[in-house]
């Protein structure tokens, strides 16, 4: 079973629909037991950083999430589900994120319209840690377009970042560290490119 974490925020049903369309046995999951029993876990997101953290703590889902990641199960964070993996966000000063990835999420500066809504191609990250090697998750495809809708972004730097996009500033579009994958875009709303991403992730099981 593929658990899609339902923490009372956002259009989580669309993620379930996309996974089932691809033949995945996706279920909305609200309690820690079900989450721990799952083969793969999707952590979708839309909504508010602080409310999401509060809800996850109250329901006991937070520690179950961390356990599934520690046990090496394939994990996919989407949108806010990517941002929550970091240490914190401008959206919720003083509220700690999961802290599995280093850094802090920021709000897009005034100048371009916010939220950032639209389709973008990705590009490879730059950084000293790459040492000229290709650094991709093997899931996203830089030539494809993916759909984004967000007001906050995670830093483009960092060893786990496998693809970046630009909206006034560069930001993390996709990250991967072992079994931990996350994307700022919505693969469930990115047409065939998004379905291809999800199909590749399903094969990690």
């Amino acid at each position: 079973m593929i658990a899609v974490v339902d923490y009372g925020a956002g259009n989580v049903a669309s993620v379930v629909r996309a996974l089932r369309h691809l033949g995945g046995d996706a279920q909305l999951v609200r309690d820690p037991e079900q989450l721990l029993a799952a083969r793969q876990v999707v952590f979708p997101g839309q909504g508010h950083f602080a409310q999401a953290m509060r809800q996850l703590q109250a329901s006991g889902m937070l520690s179950a999430l961390v356990q599934t990641i520690d046990r090496g199960k394939p994990f996919l964070g989407i949108c806010l589900g990517l941002q929550l993996l970091y240490q914190g966000s401008d959206e919720a000063p003083g509220v700690a994120g999961l802290g599995l990835l280093p850094g802090h999420c920021q709000r897009f500066a005034p100048g371009l319209p916010v939220p950032h809504v639209g389709w973008q191609q990705l590009r490879a990250p730059a950084g000293p840690h790459l040492r000229g090697e290709e650094h991709t998750s093997g899931l996203e495809s830089p030539s494809q377009f993916y759909y984004f809708v967000h007001s906050y972004y995670a830093p483009a730097q960092g060893e786990a970042v496998t693809a970046v996009a630009d909206y006034g500033v560069p930001f993390a579009a996709a990250v991967r560290r072992d079994n931990l994958c996350a994307v700022q875009f919505h693969p469930e709303k990115s047409g065939q490119a998004g379905l291809d991403y999800l199909a590749a992730w399903l094969k990690l099981a």
Partner: protein, 251 residues
Amino acid sequence: MHTVRLIACLDIEHGRVVKGVRFADLQDQGDPVELAARYDAQGIDELAFLDVRASDQGRDILRDLVAKVAQVLFIPFAVGGGLRTLDDVRAVLRAGADKVTVGSAAVANPELVRQIANEFGSQCLVVSLDVKRLDGRYALTSHGGRRDTGLDAVEFARRVADLGAGELLVNDMDADGTRQGFGHDLNRAIVNAVPIPVIASGGAGRPEHFAEAVEQGGVHAVLAASVFHQGDFSIGDVKDCMRSRGIAVRT
């Protein structure tokens, strides 16, 4: 690179796609699910459903349609028409819509904008403005353009952006159905007034009109309906035209 979005609007009445000139004389244009799939295959970036009659009965039909489309299409889509309460909004989001569009209800009760944004997030809220030029001002109208609200459209745009709208859809009621191009003056005035994305609607007649809406009106997305339904030109034609003029689009 960020791309300009092209949105196809399906005006729905009793489960069928209709399109009238200046919101009157509705003509049948086909099956919504078929049209949505065709536009997806042609590369549309986003779909919008608008229930033009917005009756209680129509809302149930609309919800079923949304659920059907959500089963087969994996691109963003917005649903609007007669959504008045948080429960109305919740129902279409549950059915599978990614965003809701509110118009008259936001005029009657701007606080609804804040409530929707707080409950579901700004990213799923598009506020739609029906605007006419009256006595040298941009008059905000309601009920499909039939009523002058007495409000200034630019002021109202600012207000709903403050209240938490994620995007604005500007329907130029003077240009709608004329196929003479979008109302760049109006769009520019709104774009300059708000910090959120603006979608132009009303007046598309040729592929160049879409490019001009971006170049002259400064809008971030462009919406059209009947020109696509009637096959005057394709979504690909519009994107080719935009690309040839240096506007980034999804391919």
